[in-house]
């Protein structure tokens, strides 16, 4: 049955998940947690606690050592090689290092994401142009990523991640290299996306950023998730 976006629907479900690196280090043990559709989550914890690993488990960058992860109602580990691309097309990924393609223009970096889903080049570029204007990069369409600042690169990466209207957005330390003002601008973009129905899991070790926004904080500690409800009366201006 196709997945439908409803607030009470579990979009990601961890069931007694264990992850052990090939070095023998255990990252998660018996981890169980459910993420709901349309919700904004902060994933926090100090560096090395397993935030990136948890995100990788969701988009199957890693395979679980034990237990089961369901995303969009499908057991991630049971996905075949041919099913994996369409599975990943339903989610957007944003990384701290942006991972833009250096020889492509800003416009083509974003348009490529649509082209992968089968949209023709012309339409892909049209949509990408609109989106880049929305993220404030309308004047940089033909620039190469190397000609952009870190904040601008992150905005391109976000535009690339959301152009396909994904159900789920996974962002790994997207504000890691940014100053407070740029970080807030990116957070505004994420909030806009969330309002449009996209579920967001944003990994960060920036506690000040988390404290400034009224969203669920999932703190990783000793391989387990501790959920903290959002504090009331928070406002982004408290952050910067």
């Amino acid at each position: 049955m196709p997945y439908q976006r409803r607030p009470s629907v579990e979009i990601i479900k961890f069931e007694r998940v264990g992850l052990q690196y090939s070095t023998g280090q255990t990252v998660f043990y018996e981890l169980s947690y459910s993420f709901f559709a349309g919700t904004f989550y902060f994933l926090t914890g100090p560096s090395g606690v397993g935030k990136t690993s948890l995100l990788k488990l969701i988009y199957r960058g890693f395979k679980v050592s034990e237990g089961k992860i369901s995303v969009f109602g499908r057991d991630v580990d049971s996905l075949s090689a041919s099913e994996l691309p369409s599975f990943r097309q339903r989610m957007g990924l944003v990384f701290q290092d942006c991972r833009l393609i250096d020889h492509l223009s800003v416009l083509d970096n974003v348009a490529l994401a649509l082209k992968i889903t089968g949209t023709d080049t012309r339409r892909s570029r049209t949509y990408a142009t609109e989106l880049l204007h929305w993220v404030g990069l309308g004047d940089h369409l033909d620039n190469l990523p190397l000609q952009l600042s870190d904040g601008q690169k992150q905005r391109v990466a976000i535009a690339r991640a959301v152009i396909t209207r994904p159900l789920l957005l996974l962002a790994d330390e997207p504000t890691g290299n940014l100053d407070a003002h740029s970080a807030h601008r990116l957070m505004s973009l994420f909030e806009e996306l969330n309002k449009m129905g996209t579920s967001i899991v944003l990994a960060t070790h920036n506690q000040a950023l988390v404290s400034a926004f009224p969203y669920i904080e999932l703190s990783l500690h000793q391989g387990q998730i501790q959920a903290k409800p959002p504090l009331q009366n928070r406002h982004p201006r408290d952050y910067y």
Binding site: F87, R88, I101, D108, T121, S124, D142
Partner: protein, 297 residues
Amino acid sequence: MTITKKSFIQQFPLNQDVGKTYLSWTVGLLSVIMVFILTGFFSFYDPYTDLTSEPSFTIEIPFLSENPDHSSVLVERVLVFLKTVPALKKIEVVEKDDLLKLLEPWVNNQSNLADLNLPVFIDITVDNSIPLDAKLLTHQLRQISAGIHVEPYGRWKSMAKIHHRTFQVLALGCVGLILSIMMMLVSLVTKTFLMSYRSIVDILRLMGAKNAFIARQFQTQAFTGCLKGSFAGLILGLIMVYGLSILPQIIGLPILFEPLLRFNLLPFFLFLPFVTAFVSTLVSRITVSRLLYSLEQ
């Protein structure tokens, strides 16, 4: 900037990669070798077809140095006799000029050629439908003159057949070897491309690109690179073969090498670059798919 003016998005910067040029040049060189082998193959094939048509013999009437006039009488008698044999379909006296032409390359002083006392050769072709007793024919001819020698072509034909088969197998083997080298080359270049742009491959996979999407640009590069290289090699090879065939006439050497370049073979040769390009595309696709599959595990 004109980056966005292109009608397509090249996710891999293969056009700027020297590997593409290297592939075209190597395929071109291999195509030249393939043209040489195939031209040799076709040149050898045609004379053999003539040889295998019908059984034939050559009757050699030695030159009688003590009585030259008697030689021509002897030839007349042999011819009269041969006309009475019903199994003979064709009787043809080899002209002295033709013999001299055959000897030309091997004689240094051309003026001595005319003074040579040559035997007379009569080629006879046997009608397949009427049985001929070759031994009896030889016996009857030797009754006319003891020095007459009958040379059956059967032995030469069987030898020619063996040589022909050997050459055929070797030629096809060489063509197969060249195609294998081309396939290995395309596979190697594709793997090198793929590993060079591993970071882009990883990004595309995370964006949900299918293997076919990632492979497409490598396939296109393999196709165009091999098609260009193969066409260039074909044209160069044909020019070289033609040059070699007319060179002896230009510099006045005897014709020892005469490749048969005929227009009816042209479609076959023109087809070769497309076959090469198609095979390269397949190899490229398989290489990318296998490598991506192994990365996925």
